[in-house]
Symmetry: C2
Subunit: 465 residues, 2 copies
C-alpha cells in the first residue's frame, strides 16, 4: 500500500475539484430516450472529450446513427502492461414524474442524509455519470503524481445505454481492433452495502418488447357496443394476466429453456450475505417476495428470469369518466434473462404467446426494445483476485462476489464480439434511487470509488503470480 | 294530419334559422368532465335560458354544486292538457384525441356524406345539443303559428350527463314538486336506421368504478427488484384478466343476480329487425361478437350486462423504454346493467372481487363514477301508442320499439324519485360518432326530429281513446 500513498493523497486533495467536475456533467440533461435532448447528449460527449484531452488522452467524439460515442486512449508507462478498456455511459433516464423530485434533477445539490452521509442529488449522479468519473478521476490522480498511467488505458463512453443501445453493436463491429483490450473495466454496478465493496460476476440479460392490440377502427361508445365489440384492453389484460401462473412462474412456452438451477454452494454463499426478503423489500414499503415461490430474493433477482410489465395504457385515462371502448391498447414488457436463455428465442416465444391469443378480427403490433443475453464471469481468474484484493484493502472488508439483477448489454457484446471479459466494479448504493425521482450518489462512494480504481489499476499492472 | 300542416310548414320555413341556433350552441365547448370548461357549461346554460325566455318560457339557470341546471315552464292552451317534462343535456364529451378530428370540434361545419346526406360535424351536434333543440324548435313552431303550446310543457336541461350527473339526485329531490309531470320526454337516443324511427323501451344501467393498485412506495428499477417486488400492473392486469371467463361471462360472484333471460317473443322481434353481427360490427372494422357466446348482438347490447374496461394506465407510457416497476397502476371500469341488477350490489361485489386479489403488502383504492339501475317501460301504454303513431306518420315507416345499450340515468331517477315514466325518442344515427372524433348530426335528423316532436305533442294532447 505504501507505494500508492502519493496517488491516493492526490485524489484526496482533489476531491472538491473532482466533485465540481461531476456537477458540471450532471448539469447536462442527456436523456437518451427523449429525442428533444439529442443536443444535450452531444454536449455531454463533448464535455467528456474535452476533460480527457486535458489529461493527455487521445480523445474524440465519434458519430453514430444515434447519440455519439466517446473514445479515448492513453499509453501506459510500460508498453508491456495490460491493456484495459474502461466503459461507462453518459446518458441518463427520463425524470418523470418530475413533481416527485425535491430538487431540480439537473441542478446537482449537496445534502446530508439522516444518518449523516453526504450525498449529491441529481439525475445521473449515480447512474452513471458519478460512477464513470471515479475512473476518470483515478487516472487524473495517477497522471498528476506519476505523470503517467500504470496500464495501457482505452475508454469507451456510450450515450444510449438507457435507450437500448441501438448504435452499440455497429460501433463495436466497425471499431473492434481499436477497442479490443485484455480486459474491460465497467463501472455501472453497486456495492453490496455501504461498507462492503462488490464485484458482479453474473448479470441478467434483457429482451424488451412493446405491443399494441388493435380492435375496432375507431373508439366506440361502451353503451352502444359494449358486450358485442372487442375491447382491446380486455384482450391485452387477459393476455398479460395469463403470463404468470399462481406460483409466479412465467407461462410462455419454452421460457425456461436454458435456465439452470443455481448450485447449492452458491445459494449457500448468498444466504450467508444475510439479506432477508423483509430487509430487501421493507425499504420500498413491501414485505412479501412476489416472484416464483420458494426462492430467496437474491436468487429471484440474480439467478431467475422474469417477465415484467413496465408500462400499460389504453382508453380514457384523464380525470373523470368516459364510457369508451378504445380502438387500441398497449404495453411495454421486459424479460430479464439468466443462464443460457436465448433473448431472440424469448422474443419469438412471447410474440407467439400473444399472437395466438388475439381474436381473428383484431390484430397486434410488436416493437422490439433491446436484446441481450445473460452473462457469467468465471469465479476464478487472476483479474478477479487482484481486483478483489485491491477493493478489500481500500474498504477494509472482503469484497463480495455477487450477481446482478439488471442487464448491462455491453458486457455481453464485449464477450461475444470482442472476446473480452469484463470486471464489474461499482460504488452505487441501494438507496441511490436510480431510474427514480431524487437519484443521488454518496460522496463517499465517489471518493473511495476513485481510490478503489487507483488501487485496482495498480493491482492489475503488477506481474501475475 | 291536415290540421298540423301550418305548424309543420313553419318548422320547414325556419330550418335555416334553427340550424343557426344549433351552431351557436355547439360553439360553446361545454365539456362537463373537464373543470377548466366550467365557465363554458355556465355559458351554455345561459344561452338556453335566453333562447327559451324569448319564446315565452319562464326559464332560469339553477345553480348546483356542479354545473347548473336549466328549468323552464310554459302553460298549454288547455290547462287540462297533459303535463310533460322534456329532458336533455347541454354538456358534451371531451374531444381527445383531437388529432383525429377533421374539423374543429367546436366550429360546427356542414358537409355532405358520400351517399348524399347533409351533416353538421362538431362535438355535441348529436349528443345532445342537436337532439334537445329538436324539441325546443318544435315548441317554437307551435308558438309561431298557434301562439301557444298543445301541452303543459316543462323543460329540464342538465349539464353533467357526461360526467356521472352528481348534482341530479339532489336537484330532483329539492325540486320534485316543480318537476313532476305526467310523462317525461327524453331526446337522447337514436333511430333504428336512417329511415326507421324508434322508441327505446329498455335501457341498461351503469355502475362506474376507478381503481388504483398501490405496491412499492416508489418506482423501482426492474433489474434490481424484478422477480422479487410486487408489480401493480401485474396485479391489476391479473385481476382484470380474470373478470371474464372463456365464454365471455363475467366472473364476479353474484354479478348475474337479477338478470332474466329475454322472452322468446322479444328475441324473435329483435331477430326480425335483421341486424347480423357482421352488419353491426363491420362498420367499425370488426366481425365477431366478443361478449357472451351464443347470443345475438342485439341481445348482447340491449339485454345482457357487461364489465367493460374503459381505461388503463401505469408505468412508463411515453416513447422509448424505461425498465421500471411502477408504484401504482389504475383502471376505469364500467358495468352495464339490465333487469333487476342492483347497481350498488354490483359495486360492492366488484370491490370485494378486487380486494380479495390484492397481496397483503399492497393496497387498492376505489373511486365511484356514476350509479344507475336498468329501466324497462311497459310495452303497452297509451303514450307509447300515440307517439308510435305520430312517428310512423312523419317517417312513413312503423316505429321500432327497441332496447338501448347505453344508460340514461335520469330516466331511472324520474321513475324512482318522481314516479314518472319516460318516452324515449331520438334521431341520432349509428354513424354519428358520438363520444368519438368527428361527431356529427344529419340535417335530416334535425329537421324531421323537429317535425316528429310537433306531431308527438299533438298526439299526446289528443283525448285518450
Amino acid at each position: 500500500m505504501a507505494d500508492l500513498e502519493d496517488v491516493l493523497s492526490a485524489a484526496d486533495a482533489s476531491l472538491e475539484a473532482s466533485l465540481g467536475r461531476l456537477k458540471d456533467l450532471v448539469r447536462i440533461p442527456s436523456i437518451s430516450t427523449d429525442k428533444s435532448h439529442a443536443g444535450d447528449c452531444e454536449k455531454a460527449a463533448e464535455w467528456l472529450v474535452e476533460s480527457l484531452s486535458e489529461m493527455g488522452f487521445d480523445a474524440s467524439v465519434r458519430k453514430t446513427d444515434g447519440h455519439p460515442m466517446v473514445v479515448a486512449h492513453h499509453a501506459g508507462a510500460d508498453a508491456a502492461a495490460p491493456h484495459v478498456l474502461f466503459y461507462g455511459h453518459y446518458d441518463v433516464q427520463p425524470v418523470d414524474p418530475l413533481e416527485l423530485w425535491s430538487t431540480d434533477p439537473f441542478e446537482p445539490t449537496f445534502s446530508e442524509t439522516p444518518d449523516g452521509r453526504k450525498i449529491m442529488t441529481g439525475r445521473g449522479t449515480s447512474d452513471d455519470k458519478g460512477q464513470l468519473l471515479t475512473f476518470v478521476e483515478a487516472c487524473r490522480a495517477w497522471k498528476e503524481t506519476r505523470g503517467d498511467l500504470p496500464l495501457n488505458v482505452s475508454i469507451l463512453f456510450e450515450g444510449e445505454e438507457e435507450s437500448g443501445s441501438p448504435s452499440l453493436i455497429p460501433f463495436l463491429e466497425a471499431n473492434s481492433d481499436e477497442l479490443k483490450a485484455d480486459l474491460a473495466l465497467v463501472c455501472d454496478t453497486g456495492m453490496w452495502d455501504a461498507e462492503t465493496p462488490a464485484i458482479s460476476v453474473s448479470l441478467r440479460g434483457l429482451t424488451g418488447e412493446e405491443i399494441t392490440v388493435h380492435a375496432a377502427s375507431r373508439d366506440l361508445h361502451s353503451g352502444h357496443y359494449g358486450g358485442a365489440a372487442a375491447n382491446p384492453i380486455h384482450i391485452l389484460t387477459g393476455i398479460l394476466g395469463e403470463m404468470h401462473d399462481e406460483t409466479g412462474r412465467v407461462t410462455i412456452p419454452g421460457f425456461y429453456d436454458g435456465v439452470s438451477e443455481t448450485p447449492d454452494d452458491i445459494k449457500a454463499m448468498w444466504d450467508g450475505l444475510g439479506r432477508s426478503a423483509e430487509s430487501f423489500l421493507s425499504e420500498v414499503g413491501l414485505s412479501k417476495p412476489s416472484g416464483e415461490e420458494g426462492r430467496s430474493v437474491l436468487e429471484l433477482t440474480w439467478a431467475r428470469p422474469t417477465a415484467e410489465i413496465n408500462g400499460v395504457w389504453g382508453g380514457y385515462t384523464a380525470p373523470g369518466f368516459k364510457t369508451v371502448i378504445p380502438a387500441e391498447a398497449s404495453a411495454k414488457i421486459s424479460f430479464r434473462l439468466v443462464g443460457e436463455q436465448d433473448p431472440h428465442a424469448i422474443r419469438a416465444a412471447f410474440r407467439e404467446f400473444v399472437s395466438s391469443r388475439i381474436p381473428e378480427d383484431c390484430s397486434v403490433e410488436f416493437k422490439a426494445h433491446g436484446t441481450s443475453g445473460a452473462i457469467h464471469l468465471p469465479y476464478e481468474s487472476d483479474e478477479l483476485a487482484s481486483a478483489g484484493k485491491a477493493l478489500t484493502e481500500e474498504w477494509g472488508k472482503p469484497a463480495a462476489f455477487v450477481g446482478m439483477g439488471g442487464s448491462i448489454p455491453v458486457v455481453g457484446f464485449f464477450q461475444s464480439m470482442l472476446g473480452m471479459q469484463s470486471l464489474l466494479v461499482g460504488f452505487a448504493l441501494e438507496d441511490d434511487c436510480i431510474h427514480s425521482p431524487n437519484e443521488k450518489y454518496d460522496v463517499k462512494s465517489f471518493h473511495k470509488g476513485i481510490r478503489s480504481w487507483i488501487r485496482i489499476m495498480d493491482a492489475l499492472a503488477a506481474p501475475k503470480a
